[in-house]
């Protein structure tokens, strides 16, 4: 696997070093978000030679992946005059005009130069139809049918990075919890596209609030059994889970800081206090203490900003603390019950859930403009929002489908898409990037 990755990187660099003429960018962050129309040319094994099963399967996987991008519109092949079977995979054998006429901004070509049976290399290129300039090109060597999902994810991550500046979505893995009974829930992981679904813990008790370490090695979580709370720590390297116990009664909402330390709400006197733990999971110092409930810390990628939930003004509201100056400001301005803050990695947005007459809904507070935006509208109750590393996608849990499931939306809102998690009530999606 390591060799595969190394070769991939090397070949990617080789192809990328050839001049890419275009610099098309899709602004997915601004208020007038763009969309991009993308056409997939039929996969080839040679000039006008359509690929076989593996080629078609990879094409299908790429299509499935791209359907998760709300700003991406896939061109219907029937709308392309002359069809999508091309005489070649790069200019001058790609007729960009036919794709332009179909409204496509980008066309993707795939070629398996040595055929697509067994273990073979595949080259994928993306061109801007307006200029014919190449946006992206990479060869993925020694691809077997088992590798196809990974190749589809890698290609989509690369393409997304070229178009938007971040490929984090396809490089991420969500941690979440799945309930299997009263006070029983385990931690699972899944790619946002639904692939690689895995149960990673097998514990007696209920896991809540999983959080990835920045290096992707650990998942920490609250673990509740009949008698006590503890901090669960799952190590991806060993596959084992350990329980860390603390004096007092609560262990609530752990989160990693960018330097791989854990912040968590623990008992101290009458109210929970947000502590920073050291690398041995022992209390290092207090991050937030007040004569009120203070839980659910979340950090930006610099570790200097911490958002959290506090009842200091009566009902629960979202606050932001500058950990350098120590100053704290209230983030949520409307509603009487705002909880479950999650700070975007770039530190500019806070997403949180607000209790409404119709259940909880997800909101995004822009810390730069001060504007608030509602990004989910039910039905059911939408909770536990979590920003992807790109500060664009938001995962959340919702009861809109009857059983609680994991869904995706963006900082702009729009139609939510469900992440396939294999049934069962699923909660607390949290993004991570295991290496």
């Amino acid at each position: 696997m390591k060799r595969f990755v190394l070769l991939l990187v090397a070949l990617g660099l080789l192809i990328a070093s050839a001049p890419a003429q275009a610099a098309m960018r899709v602004d997915i962050y601004g208020p007038g978000q763009n969309s991009v129309n993308l056409a997939l040319a039929d996969p080839l094994t040679g000039p006008s030679q359509p690929a076989g099963n593996m080629g078609r399967e990879l094409q299908k996987l790429i299509q499935q992946n791209l359907s998760f991008l709300p700003f991406m519109r896939l061109t219907d092949p029937k709308a392309v005059l002359g069809g999508t079977l091309l005489p070649g995979y790069e200019p001058p054998n790609v007729d960009f005009k036919r794709f332009q006429l179909a409204g496509s901004d980008v066309v993707v070509t795939t070629v398996w130069p040595s055929g697509d049976s067994g273990t073979k290399a595949v080259q994928i290129r993306a061109f801007e139809t307006n200029t014919g300039g190449r946006l992206f090109g990479k060869e993925y060597p020694r691809v077997s049918s088992r590798d196809l999902p990974e190749v589809a994810d890698r290609f989509c991550a690369d393409l997304l990075e070229v178009l938007t500046g971040s490929g984090a979505f396809f490089r991420s893995t969500l941690a979440f919890v799945k309930k299997s009974g009263k006070l029983t829930a385990d931690v699972w992981t899944v790619r946002p596209t639904g692939r690689d679904l895995r149960k990673v813990t097998n514990i007696g008790g209920e896991a809540m609030s999983p959080a990835w370490s920045p290096d992707g090695r650990f998942i920490v979580f609250t673990l509740i059994d009949k008698k006590s709370h503890s901090l669960g720590v799952w190590d991806r390297k060993s596959g084992k889970t350990q329980r860390v116990r603390f004096p007092g009664n609560v262990v609530i909402g752990p989160a990693f800081t960018p330097d791989n330390k854990v912040a968590v709400a623990l008992s101290k006197g009458k109210y929970p206090v947000i502590y920073l733990l050291n690398h041995s999971f022992q209390k290092e110092r207090v991050l937030e203490e007040h004569n009120s409930i203070n839980v659910s810390p979340t950090f930006d990628s610099t570790g200097t900003k911490m958002a959290f939930t506090s009842s200091r003004m009566g009902g629960p509201q979202i606050f932001m603390k500058d950990l350098t100056s120590g100053s704290t400001v209230r983030v949520s301005k409307n509603g009487g019950y705002n909880t479950e803050a999650n700070l975007s990695p770039d530190g500019t947005l806070v997403t949180f859930s607000r209790m409404t007459d119709y259940g909880h809904r997800i909101f995004v507070q822009d810390m730069v403009t001060g504007l608030e935006r509602q990004v989910t509208f039910g039905p059911g109750s939408d909770e536990q929002p979590s920003f992807c590393g790109d500060s664009y996608f938001i995962a959340f849990s919702s009861s809109r489908g009857g059983t609680r499931g994991i869904y995706l939306t963006t900082r702009h809102g729009g139609d939510a898409k469900q992440v396939p998690t294999g049934g069962g009530a699923c909660y607390f999606p949290r993004w991570g990037m295991p290496q």
């Binding site: 009263k182 009458k270 939930t309 209790m355």
Partner: protein, 155 residues
């Protein structure tokens, strides 16, 4: 060797039967070997729940008599150890409810200690909204789930 193993097994069986002066039963269950007074006390300690208003953790006046009765029994039977379990209804969110449930358990804990119960007889846990007493929605259900339960964990 066989005889030694047999004796060891007999000793262990005897120890299991008679070894504990303070017996820990299955939590919350009454056993046959209890005195009638102890059975009645455990029943009374575990029976009454303290209910709370939404997002509140103050003990309402109507529950103070009930807590006093529990306190008197715990003082009468100092071997009794009770776990106070704080719970919330389904409307709040899970992490905040864990903290709120702890505040509810702590409110009863502090009241019992104020009435003279030894802190060593008490422990607390919050289940947040994970352990509802009644399933369903609507205020009639929610009001029953915003509660403190009392479980005798040792006697």
């Amino acid at each position: 060797m066989k005889r030694y193993a047999l004796i060891l097994a007999l000793v262990m069986a005897l120890a299991a039967g008679f070894g504990c002066a303070k017996k820990t039963s299955d939590e919350g269950t009454l056993t046959d070997d209890m005195s009638p007074e102890m059975r009645a006390a455990i029943q009374q300690i575990t029976d009454g729940r303290v209910l709370f208003a939404f997002d509140k953790f103050d003990i309402k006046p109507e529950y103070k008599e009930m807590l006093k009765a529990k306190a008197d029994l715990m003082k009468q039977f100092p071997s009794v150890r009770v776990r106070i379990e704080g719970n919330c209804d389904e409307r709040g969110t899970q992490e905040y409810n864990l903290a709120l449930g702890e505040r509810r358990a702590r409110a009863a804990y502090e009241y019992l200690v104020m009435l003279g119960v030894s802190p060593s007889q008490l422990e607390m846990i919050s289940y947040g909204k994970e352990n509802p007493a009644v399933q369903g929605t609507g205020e009639a259900v929610w009001s029953q789930n915003r509660r403190d339960d009392f479980t005798v964990v040792a006697h």
